[in-house]
């Protein structure tokens, strides 16, 4: 550096510093933008329709040539060779198989406009050419009738569900009551119920037979045919012959599915709604918990605490707490909140459920509490920063009008510091929404059967485990090596997580701007 100094004049030195900083800043910006771009492209690709090809290739594992309908998901280059990651369907694995095909093994490849991507209700997809539809009465309904035929199937399904829910469950309940009252096995009431149960059951079987008679006949690239029950089919698209407009429509509908449905096939298809919901709920709960505690602590530290070494030590430890690895908070949450606090709550209030724990198990409330502890330093530091910006003249003005200290804090200091408080909350939200490791210890799971909020009393189930976008991404990263689709779902979830953090931030920033305007000095 000294030699550089000697070489350059002072103005040159200055411009050297400026260009060096500008260079580093733009480097950082480029790095940031490429991360965003990667997530945007890879995440967006999950929703964009992938064309279906008719692919003839040599299968190295089975030592034979195959012709299949296939979608190629991704191209990877390993040691200079092109390798195609391919999803295909044929008569041996109609519900989709995955394989890697090296470039020399590809014998022929052409777009297959006649083939469709048939999405099943369980999240899997079949790639095949729909030929015609069949029903109990007729064996060759044209595929163009799909919508009206599928409507009949849905009607039948609804009828079956209706019988199950209204009649069968009613009979079950009555039978259970008879059991409780120890009614004889051959009492007339019981026999009656059994008889009507059998009647409804056979009705259901009849309806199911009628429903399952509706089928779609499809043909694979090899010429073999296959029957798919219509009730298993969610939708189908002739991806290879879509216009741009239709592609957009399909992409939008898959975004809709992604946002509103539950994951299927072990988090590799379907939607992420429970994770989205869980993330937002956890962040919301955390905000409600951390804001009052953080603000109270900051107000105490900067307005009430004596100005001595002890306060300074507390302040330093608060700042240092922000640097503690998050997994430590996770362990603390598990050890203290879940086992100790939750365990004691169980002993006190849910003793009759023991040994199976009620509160003493990871759940969304403990997760929110752990995240609140984790983000507390951020809120305290930002709030103190905001409190420091309140001019002494205003405090004096408030005291001079007869306000006590508490009144001055409440009516003058806190409103003026509120933009600073919001800054802390924004940072806390961003941090909590993105954490994964501590959450996995205290309540976030790969798959939760129920949402933490439902129609069942008490509606908000704070003890339930929940799904979280970050955990889903983490899970997706493990699928990515074997399952291309799982990996792109990971990117899509990443994109969504970014959007969630962005939206939550925007909301908080808008609020802060309004507060700033209101308490402009």
């Amino acid at each position: 550096m000294t030699s550089v100094n000697r070489l350059l004049s002072s103005s040159q030195r200055q411009s050297f510093v400026i260009s060096a900083t500008a260079f580093l800043a733009s480097l950082l910006l480029i790095a940031l933008l490429s991360i965003l771009l990667l997530i945007l492209v890879r995440g967006g690709a999950y929703f964009w329709p992938t064309p279906v090809y008719e692919l003839t290739f040599y299968d190295q594992l089975q030592n034979k040539q195959k012709t299949v309908y296939a979608q190629q998901r991704q191209r990877t280059d390993s040691s200079g060779e092109k390798v195609w990651q391919v999803d295909y369907s044929d008569e041996n694995s109609p519900y989709g198989a995955k394989t890697l095909v090296e470039a020399p093994d590809v014998i022929a490849k052409k777009l297959a406009p006649e083939s469709a991507q048939i999405n099943l209700t369980d999240g899997r997809a079949v790639l095949a050419e729909p030929v015609y539809l069949t029903s109990a009465e007729s064996a060759d309904i044209p595929v163009s009738e799909y919508a009206s035929v599928q409507e009949k199937v849905h009607a039948l399904t609804a009828k079956i569900e209706d019988i199950r829910e209204t009649w069968l469950s009613d009979i079950h309940q009555k039978l259970a009551e008879l059991d409780v009252r120890n009614v004889d096995a051959d009492a007339p009431a019981r026999l009656n119920l059994n008889a009507s149960f059998d009647r409804w059951q056979s009705e259901i079987i009849l309806l199911e037979q009628r429903r399952d008679a509706f089928q779609m006949k499809v043909v694979f690239a090899s010429g073999a045919s296959w029957q798919l029950p219509l009730s298993d089919i969610d939708s189908f698209y002739f991806v290879s012959s879509q216009s741009l407009w239709e592609k957009w429509a399909m992409a939008l509908s898959s975004i809709g599915t992604f946002l509103t449905e539950s994951p299927k096939q072990a988090n590799t298809s379907g939607g992420v709604f429970p994770a989205l919901f869980g993330t937002v709920l956890m962040v919301f709960l955390m905000t409600i918990i951390v804001t009052p505690f953080g603000v109270l602590a900051a107000v105490y530290l900067s307005e009430y605490a004596p100005d001595n070494g002890f306060t300074a030590a507390i302040r330093v430890s608060v700042s240092n707490m922000a640097g503690v690895p998050s997994i430590v908070y996770g362990v603390f949450g598990l050890g203290f909140f879940v086992y100790t606090l939750g365990g004691s709550l169980d002993d006190l209030f849910f003793a009759d459920h023991l040994p199976s724990p009620t509160m003493g198990t990871p759940g969304v409330f403990w997760a929110a509490l752990t995240m609140a502890i984790l983000t507390l330093p951020v809120v305290i530091v930002a709030t103190e920063e905001g409190l420091r910006r309140v001019p002494d003249g205003l405090k004096a003005g408030s005291y001079a009008l007869g306000a006590t200290k508490a009144e001055t804090v409440l009516y003058t200091i806190l409103p003026i510091a509120s933009p600073g408080i919001m800054t802390g909350v924004i940072l806390a939200i961003a941090r909590a929404a993105g954490e994964v490791a501590p959450l996995m210890l205290v309540g976030a799971v790969k798959f939760a059967p129920n949402l933490p909020i439902d129609g069942e009393f008490p509606y908000l189930h704070l003890d339930r485990q929940f799904m979280h976008l970050g955990v889903l991404i983490y899970d997706g990263a493990f699928h990515s090596q074997t399952d291309a689709k799982g990996s792109s779902m990971m990117f899509a979830a990443c994109l969504l997580l970014l959007v969630v953090v962005f939206v939550l931030n925007i909301l908080a920033v808008i609020l802060r701007t309004r507060l700033r305007k209101r308490y402009l000095l």
Partner: protein, 268 residues
């Protein structure tokens, strides 16, 4: 010398109890180890304007802040002696400072309106006292703004933020804010130092009007202002009260050499 209101001149060196608003007795005050006020004794007359003059750092602000115990805000502040207001020693540890500060209003050098609406600024003190009746607040706000000669200028925008007002308007706003509590004593710490001459004149006229209903103590660096508006003037030097008498005497034939040097601008 022009006086806006003429009345008999009292001898502040020998003031009767019923004419006294603030009776300072042997006041000593320290910030940490540093003694800022030295053995100050003075009687400030009722319904008159008394000004405090002196070099920067001589303790003027500290002295008037002692009258509403605002020095309490600084943890290192310690004082001895008594200050009798309304028959009680407000320097006593058991004094209810919140109540005291509603009786002794204060306006600071730089206008410090709260970041709230004009209405909320003026009603701040009343709302602290638990007054929530809208009608009562409305009336008090209007009356205080009229008293501070600001009503005509802001009556159509009471609910707009106070910071949109000009500096002079803001200073009158904080005067109105203090007046809303109907204080017996109004302390003004260099209230016009940030204002232009015309606005200054405006505030001076306002003070002359206000002294009918309260005692005013004003700190100023402006000799002409002290001579113009105040009935009595006290000169402080390094925390000591050098001379305290009626303004006419102090500015025309001061008793002490130090006073003369200061008012003729030979130092300070």
């Amino acid at each position: 010398m022009l006086k806006l209101f003429e009345h008999e001149t009292l001898d502040v060196g020998n003031l009767a109890d019923q004419d006294t608003a603030i009776d300072v007795q042997a006041l000593n005050l320290w910030f940490g180890q540093k003694q800022v006020l030295h053995d100050i004794s003075m009687r400030i007359p009722k319904n008159r304007i008394t000004s405090l003059i002196g070099q920067s750092g001589c303790g003027k602000s500290t002295l008037i802040s002692a009258f509403n115990r605002l020095n309490d805000l600084y943890s290192g502040c310690r004082s001895q002696g008594s200050i009798i207001i309304d028959g009680r020693d407000i320097n006593h540890a058991k004094e209810n400072v919140s109540r005291l500060r509603t009786q002794v209003g204060m306006v600071f050098q730089r206008p410090n309106p709260f970041p709230m609406s004009i209405y909320d600024n003026v009603s701040y003190g009343l709302r602290l006292q638990g007054i929530r009746v809208r009608r009562q607040l409305d009336d008090a706000v209007e009356q205080s703004l009229r008293d501070a000669a600001l009503w005509e200028e802001v009556k159509d925008r009471l609910f707009e933020p106070a910071h949109i007002l000009s500096g002079g308007q803001q200073q009158r706003l904080v005067i109105a804010r203090a007046l809303a509590l109907k204080p017996d004593i109004l302390l003004l710490d260099e209230p016009t130092s940030a204002l232009d001459p015309l606005t200054t004149l405006f505030i001076e006229e306002l003070m002359a009007e206000l002294k009918k209903r309260c005692t005013i103590v004003i700190v100023t660096h402006n000799m002409q202002q002290a001579a113009r508006v105040s009935d009595y003037t006290a000169f402080l030097h390094q925390g000591q009260l050098i001379e305290y008498t009626d303004s006419d005497t102090l500015f025309t034939m001061p008793d002490k050499k130090q006073t003369e040097d200061y008012i003729t601008g030979r130092y300070g």
